[in-house]
Symmetry: C2
Subunit: 121 residues, 2 copies
Amino acid sequence: MNPKRCAACKYLRRRCPKDCFFSPYFPPNDPDKFAYIHRIYGAGNVSKMLQQLPVQTRAEAVDSLCFEAKCRVEDPVYGCVGIIYFLQTQIQKTESLLAKTQAEIAVAQIKHSQAQNSEFM
Amino acid sequence: MNPKRCAACKYLRRRCPKDCFFSPYFPPNDPDKFAYIHRIYGAGNVSKMLQQLPVQTRAEAVDSLCFEAKCRVEDPVYGCVGIIYFLQTQIQKTESLLAKTQAEIAVAQIKHSQAQNSEFM
């Protein structure tokens, strides 16, 4: 038994072989990362998803899966889709503020031109 | 055998009982909805997640799970987290454009005040 089992093997209470598939993505010092992923997707599904990806993209895939799983644990109804709703609302608000500000600048420019015209009359 | 099996039972090639757990959320006319969810989470995990939720929130949970699963199928590395990155970038761009526009309005107002002052001199 490897005393420094990866977080996945520790969670699954199994031996962590030298060529452990999960080991590069689930270091022993971050046990939550695997716990979230296991709770939402299951170890088998995650392993299947990762195996279908090129090796160099797997770490990023694990990070995004972990983010989604954590969001789902924290918000079981909306998961990270709740964040998407929130960001879309924020964009609408900022765009509407931008349109209002652009309208104000147009009014200010008209006033400025009028002032200049009256100066030369 | 119910000839109008729900999409979940049809996908899992099983009988759809009258009190089918999945039936309210997976109508027969939308087979992809269950296919995406099954591919990413597995039927057992989804059923477990839904059972932990109050009945009135389950339809929304299914919709958000389905959205996440579809995103993951279409973008296996980033899933819907890719959308979050994209929206955050869009917010930064809009906020930066807003700041630029607000600075322009301040300059226009100063010019307008200066023009008014020179008018009265």
